[in-house]
């Protein structure tokens, strides 16, 4: 591949999605995600795909779920206020197990907030934003190159596990332009959901061994029913407690069964570090910079960067923090991922939150000061 391009994070998401076979986009404009809609509007018709500007984000979510029912890979993109509006239908996609990808370019909230400022305030919302227990995969890239590759992976994970996948960007990452050198490992594969086995009776919500039932695309001869009511293996509503328990445990447990395939955590000088920084998204760019400069000065600092942020990489974090002097969790919010880190670390190592909520990026300087205090 080895090809260099100047790409913004938002454009990289679009390119990655297209490479993974996305042929449908529905969305509603909102800063700082709008360039994604613009790019899909340009690119999809060229590939015989559909770009649809819907009347709002609720409709956008509905439309991508509908498109996905026919077997078409479908994406939407939004930011804070729009992401809030999508929550009911994200829950629908989760329990009806319809693949779809939502790109959320985080901006400062709540409410209209600071529309052009970055934030990481939706970290918990991506996981818990819908009512009820629902599974979700959330992937947070930190460069344009990674936005390309990880959006492609998001599409593939969604197809493989029949689960909504959220690509968690932020304003900085969406709008920055950087030189991206694509290498062979950036090649995005095209993976599609598994279909019914010919000759075998089709159970749309079968309790399969791998936790993922086969998906029959609408219009392929399998006439079945999809509903957001809790359903049995046939797809029809049930309130039988045993059946309800069974499907809820399968749907919410299926990702755990494949956690090694879903998780992706990156380590920078973590092994011999005394101080470990846990960061994601654009804040991880600052953290990376700190590790680079302090290592040059011979200081034992490292970083753990969850790329798949949900399911939270419990094992990776637990192993990485063992024996460290302290852990720092810098975030552009009042402390969201730090709660997960504290849960996993469970008091074994002191955990320090570093929070910035003035609409600006956590700087390398701030992180560095804290590291030096703790060393």
């Amino acid at each position: 591949m080895a090809e260099a391009k100047l790409l913004s994070g938002n454009d990289a998401c679009v390119q990655g999605a297209l490479a993974a076979g996305v042929r449908f986009f529905a969305g509603y404009p909102i800063t700082p995600s709008t360039e994604i809609a613009n790019a899909f509007a340009r690119e999809l018709p060229r590939r015989g795909g559909i770009f649809m500007q819907m009347e709002d984000e609720i409709a956008s979510m509905g439309a991508i779920i509908g498109a996905s029912c026919t077997g078409t890979k479908a994406v939407t993109a939004t930011s804070g206020p729009g992401f809030s509006l999508m929550q009911e239908n994200i829950g629908y996609a989760a329990i009806a197990e319809i693949p779809c990808v939502i790109i959320n370019v985080m901006r400062y909230g709540p409410s209209t907030g600071l529309p052009t400022s970055p934030s990481q305030g939706d970290f918990m919302q991506t996981r818990w934003g819908s009512h009820g227990d629902r599974p979700v995969i959330v992937i947070a890239p930190y460069t344009a190159r990674e936005a390309y590759r990880e959006t492609g992976r998001a599409v593939n994970l969604s197809e493989t596990y029949r689960v909504p996948v959220i690509v968690l960007m932020d304003e900085i990452l969406g709008h920055l332009r950087e030189r991206v050198e694509f290498r062979d490992e950036d090649l995005v594969q095209e993976i599609s959901r598994k279909g019914p086995e010919p000759g075998k009776p089709f159970l749309p919500y079968e309790n399969t061994e791998d936790g993922v039932p086969p998906f029959a695309d609408f219009g392929t001869g399998y006439r079945y029913h999809i509903t957001g009511l809790i359903h049995d293996e046939t797809g029809f509503p049930t309130n039988n407690p045993v059946e309800v328990d069974t499907i809820m445990r399968r749907v919410n447990g299926k990702l755990d069964m494949h956690i090694r395939d879903i998780e992706r955590t990156r380590f920078v000088d973590a092994d011999d570090a005394e101080i470990l920084i846990v960061a994601f998204g654009s804040v991880a760019r600052s953290a990376h910079e700190v590790v680079r400069t302090l290592r040059n000065e011979g200081k034992a600092v490292g970083m753990v960067r969850p790329v798949t942020v949900w399911p939270f990489p419990d094992e990776d974090i637990r192993t990485a923090v063992a024996g460290k002097k302290a852990v720092i969790v810098p975030e552009m919010n009042l402390g969201q991922m730090v709660r997960e880190v504290e849960r996993v670390v469970a008091g074994a190592v002191p955990v320090h939150a570093l929070n910035r909520i003035d609409g600006l990026l956590v700087t390398p300087h701030e992180i560095r000061d804290l590291v030096e205090d703790l060393l």
């Binding site: 509905g62 609408f218 029913h225």
Partner: protein
Amino acid sequence: MGEIHEKYLRMDKMPHIWCAGCGNGIIMGAFITAIDRLGYDKDEVAAVSGIGCSGRITGYMDFNTIHTTHGRALAFATGIKLAKPRLKVFVFMGDGDAVAIGGNHLIHACRRNLDMTAVIFNNHIYGMTGGQFSPTTFKNKNATTAPYGTTDPDFDIAQLCIGAGATYVARGTSYHARLLTDLIVKGAEHPGFSVIEVITHCPVNFGRRNNFESPAQMLLWQKEHGVAARKAKTMPLEDMEGKFTIGELYRSTEIPEYLEEYGRVIQAANEEKKS
């Protein structure tokens, strides 16, 4: 009729959840009769519904069926139709579903003119939640959320859809079942977004609270108040007071169907790519 039921309904899902005397079964019967007449292959039909008593219809019919979220059926249907235009897409909604929570989606579906058919079950009440007033409940009616009578003015769904740009709009009733089948057939054959508003009766949550003694009385009310659109044109306005028109109310072939227009977008994009 029995044969049609066997052919198009999921008989193993019977009995349905609708109350005795409810109009929804009549609408479902009219619909499958229409599909039979249209001769559509069941595999090629997608039936999409919202949430409410009416929304349950998709579970009983043997097509590609999806019961979505309250008010959002048209959004899901839009995705299905655009992604697989070959499918015949039908959307079933209640009055609350279609013109309260889903009102925004309805007017935009009318405006876009994508080739789908919406069947709106207008029972003038929120059935599923137990009898709260809806945007189509007439003034001075009783509902659980209007114990002193409703004060809100009501929507005329068919007029709303005509105003929003739907290219085929009709109104039927659960009393005039044969007419309803005709209207659904015509709506389905119409190349564009078609709406069939169906005035139907909810004896339990509307009738009981509003001086109707039986489902039959509610059907009689429909018979007495539904006036054929063609006849209404010749009647003095004051004779139409409190009545409503039924039949085909509007049809236009001037506005292009959405996917036809989108074909031009694809063409333009490909020409740009080549140059």
